[in-house]
């Protein structure tokens, strides 16, 4: 994975031209809604993956990267819309430049294009979840278990495991189907041998007895053993040279056709009729239940639907519904997986029995056709061929259904066919064949015996082959089933271990943020087929889904923690980079510092790019040392894109402008910086201001109160130091307060802050040397409010965040002013 050094964006989304210097450190992007923050997130995602989730997700059917990723003024010139990222690859000790143009989103330029560098970028492309918005993160928390299972499995890269499971299942089904087909062939071969020898059961002694009976007629020695190499015809004189092999053998042929006619005359065997009826009922049930097989496949979808029906309106479109009625409707549609499995198992047995009879009938009709062709002159058999085609279609429909449970309609037609009794013209063909066979000249007993032995030998060899095939297919089917079973049990165990580990990490992370109010918190992920339930402790009252009782802010925190736990599991040490787009907007002030600490302490090797619309939140990230750099967007217009400025070296920037004698630019810069800083200081010092519902405070609303509060806090510090008889500290604070008073007077802050527009213009009208004095005064004043340690320089803040103020301190701890006058 990578750590980003620089991002260069041109004509992309709402951005015209923007350069961000991250220097591989954590980075904050702050700006009000619509100021272009998410454009940066989109740009990073696009550059690495070629995609923009916002343009390809749900509800974006008419949107595309090529058409809508360029700035609106360049939507017909995608070649002008480009993003370039330079980054370090810590694992390789190399740097890389990644460039992508909207003109060809699938093509990425990687420099250097080394194989190892390329491999890292390609791997990164397979992890688009490195960039997530709040909406995407919260889905792990509040979605139904079925959807969560999919989302979590996708993030954990488990879809490979699920696809493999499906392929093992298909493989296993095919082997089972082959096993059944081989068993049917074996059964047919047995029947054929029995028919040839005119015996009712296949018994070794009985076969030998019948074979020896015929051999005796030919004056041949008895066979003593029925081995696989035995020859029923051993000793029978070989056919004379030039003598044509008979196309049919009267006795055997008559026996075959007689058996066929007899079966037809006796009607459908009761056992087969039962199987047909049973199969028909099940197939009809599946069909009547709005194609229940389809429903069975949509089992998870309907279950998800049931989970979603919790209130009296659709959670997506807010259309009102009667939840109870809708749930009842869904339940009616829902055939449980167990019920479907049971039905399909029963259906499979029924179809197997039907196929057994059907394949025997096919064989018999084939023989009737063969005998009809062998007679002289041959008999017309077009009707029989038609009958055969019909039987084969039914066989194909049933075997296909057994393989994949598709086309229930065709299977239903197949079991509903009255194929047992042929049509009149078909029956006439069979009768005619039977009569013609009977009309053939009688053969001698010796010839008949020779014919029977010859046919029995052929059928015995077929039976041996069918037995071998059936054994082999059964063995393969057993191995296939074992393979599937081993795979399923392995997956279950591995997934359970993973979910336990992820849940443990999630719990630990969540406790970092919320230990003060939920010290016994636990989270549990429980996997069940096609769903992943997620329950969390609620103040020791039991485990509940996160959306049940926890606030939105807590859910936001849970979303982040679960995401981090999943990423830690998925990427391990490779989790070096993440873009979190306004993911913690609902987390309250009291927990934000803990969030910063969580990211800092648990993920010290991950570069976070965090966007927020909340400047104070950004400041927390800074004071906690989570981010080293940031970029503030002051506003946005369609012509210019976001208006940006760096705050990490504002004084150098001001100096540069003044060196160019550009007072208006410098004046604007100072103005925006002071607006930004006043917000932070007001929060840090817990300043009381006139409340505004829209949360918008301008410089005049804040700065005078900030400076007043600052002196008040210093005065409180002096009082406390005097109380505790710490004279040196008291004197230092008094000096600092006197200095503050002097600097405030120098900036004339109170005066110009009253009317921003007037004073803004006044600054712009100053001469460079005059404005330089203003800049210097503010720089010194703000330094007065910050830690003096050059490695810290953070603005002081009051603790605790609520209640009686006890301490005013900096981020490094070098400055700590006691505000308590009494213990």
């Amino acid at each position: 994975m990578i750590r980003i050094k620089n991002i260069h964006i041109e004509e992309f989304r709402g951005i015209r031209v923007l350069d961000l210097d991250l220097a591989t450190k954590n980075f904050g992007i702050c700006g009000p809604n619509g100021s272009g923050k998410s454009g940066v997130v989109d740009a990073v995602e696009f550059c690495i993956t070629g995609d923009v989730t916002r343009l390809s997700g749900q509800g974006s059917a008419d949107l595309s990267v090529k058409a809508h990723a360029p700035h609106v003024d360049q939507h017909e010139h995608p070649e002008k819309s480009n993003v370039t990222i330079t980054a370090d690859i810590p694992s390789l000790g190399k740097s890389v430049k990644i460039h992508r143009s909207v003109k060809n989103p699938r093509k990425v330029q990687i420099t250097p294009n080394d194989a190892d560098v390329k491999a890292v970028i390609e791997e990164l492309q397979t992890h688009p979840e490195f960039a997530l918005s709040r909406r995407e993160i919260i889905k792990y928390i509040i979605t139904p278990p079925g959807k969560r299972s999919e989302d979590v499995q996708t993030l954990l890269r488990l879809e490979h495991i699920e696809k493999l499971r499906k392929n093992f299942k298909t493989f296993c089904n095919k082997r089972k189907s082959e096993e059944e087909e081989a068993a049917r062939s074996h059964k047919r071969a047995e029947t054929d041998l029995k028919d040839a020898l005119k015996i009712d059961k296949l018994d070794r002694a009985l076969v030998l007895e019948k074979v020896n009976e015929k051999r005796k007629l030919l004056g041949l020695q008895d066979l003593t053993e029925l081995t696989k190499d035995v020859s029923f015809k051993a000793g029978v004189a070989a056919q004379e040279e030039g003598e044509k092999k008979p196309t049919l053998r009267k006795t055997t042929a008559i026996a075959d056709i007689s058996a066929l006619l007899s079966a037809i005359k006796d009607g459908v065997p009761p056992r087969l009729a039962e199987r047909q009826q049973s199969a028909k009922t099940v197939l009809q049930k599946l069909k009547d239940d709005k194609n229940a097989l389809t429903l069975a496949r949509r089992h998870g979808f309907i279950k998800t639907g049931l989970d979603l029906v919790t209130e009296d309106a659709c959670p997506l479109c807010d259309t009102e519904w009667n939840a109870e009625e809708l749930r009842g409707h869904l339940r009616k549609k829902l055939l449980s997986a167990e019920e479907i499995e049971q039905l399909l198992g029963q259906l499979r047995d029924d179809i197997d029995a039907i196929l057994q009879s059907l394949s025997w009938r096919i064989q018999m009709v084939k023989r009737a056709i063969q005998y009809s062709q062998g007679l002289k002159p041959p008999l017309e058999h077009a009707e029989l061929s038609g009958y055969l085609t019909e039987l084969k279609s039914a066989e194909t429909a049933l075997t296909d259904f057994v393989k994949d449970n598709n086309e229930a309609e065709l299977a239903l037609q197949a079991v509903s066919l009255s194929w047992w009794s042929p049509k009149a013209d078909e029956q006439a063909c069979i009768n005619e064949c039977h009569s013609a066979l009977n009309a053939l000249p009688d053969t001698s007993a010796e010839d008949e015996a020779r014919d029977i032995l010859t046919v029995a030998q052929e059928r015995y060899e077929k039976l041996l082959a069918a037995t071998r095939m059936a054994k082999e297919r059964k063995a393969r089917s057993v191995i296939a089933q074992k393979t599937l079973d081993h795979y399923n049990s392995t997956c279950t165990k591995v997934l359970e271990d993973i979910y336990d580990e992820v849940a443990q990490h999630f719990t630990n992370y969540y406790l970092v943020i919320n230990r003060e109010d939920e010290d016994e918190f636990v989270g549990r992920l429980k996997s069940a087929p096609a769903k992943l339930s997620f329950d969390v402790d609620f103040y020791g009252r039991g485990l509940f889904p996160p959306g049940a009782y926890h606030s939105e802010g807590h859910q936001d925190g849970m979303g982040l923690c679960l995401y981090l736990a999943l990423m830690k599991h998925t990427l391990g040490d490779k989790f070096t980079f993440a873009v979190l787009d306004d993911v913690l907007m609902s987390v309250d002030t009291g927990h934000r510092r803990h969030v910063c600490r969580l990211l800092k302490s648990e993920f010290p090797n991950t570069q976070f790019i965090l966007t927020t619309h909340d400047r104070v939140w950004l400041q927390y990230m800074k004071t906690e040392g989570l981010i080293a750099r940031s970029q503030s967007f002051a506003g946005w217009t369609v012509d210019t894109g976001p208006r940006v400025w760096d705050d990490h070296d504002i004084w150098t920037e001001l100096q540069n402008e003044l060196d160019k004698n550009d007072v208006p630019t410098a004046a604007g810069l100072l103005r925006r910086y002071l607006e930004y800083t006043a917000n932070i200081l007001a929060d840090n010092l817990r300043v009381r201001v006139e409340f505004r519902g829209d949360g918008h405070y301008d410089l005049g609303d804040l700065m005078p109160h900030v400076l007043k509060e600052w002196r008040k806090r210093l005065e409180d510090g002096e009082t406390s130091a005097a109380h505790w008889k710490r004279d040196d500290e008291k004197n230092a604070l008094a000096a600092k307060r006197a200095k503050a008073k002097e600097l405030i007077a120098k900036t004339n802050a109170k005066q110009w802050a009253i009317n921003p527009s007037v004073h803004f213009n006044q600054w712009a009208n100053l001469q460079p040397h005059e404005f330089r004095e203003v800049v210097t005064a503010f720089k010194e004043l703000l330094e007065n409010l910050a830690c003096e340690n050059p490695n810290c320089k953070s603005y002081l803040y009051v603790l605790p965040r609520k209640g009686k103020a006890e301490e005013m301190r900096c981020n490094c701890g070098a400055t700590s002013i006691n505000l308590k006058a009494r213990a």
Binding site: N167, R175, I479, K482, H486
Partner: protein, 64 residues
């Protein structure tokens, strides 16, 4: 030719444990398990026919 990607640690873990379970089963030939494991460690999800070939037929070609 399909793109192959490096298998995730989780998939590799499943493959390793699955292979071990197969090897502990006396009813399955060692050679067949070797072939199947090689197949599973490739970057793509093997098709049912490829699984069949690995388990029951000749060893796969080197590039499959």
């Amino acid at each position: 030719m399909k793109n192959r990607v490096a298998l995730s640690p989780t998939v590799l873990k499943v493959v390793a444990q699955f292979s071990a379970a197969m090897r502990a089963d006396d009813g399955i030939e060692e050679d067949a398990i070797d072939r199947l494991e090689r197949l599973l460690r490739q970057g793509t999800v093997p098709k049912p026919d490829a699984i069949n070939t690995a388990l029951f037929n000749s060893p796969l070609d080197g590039d499959t």
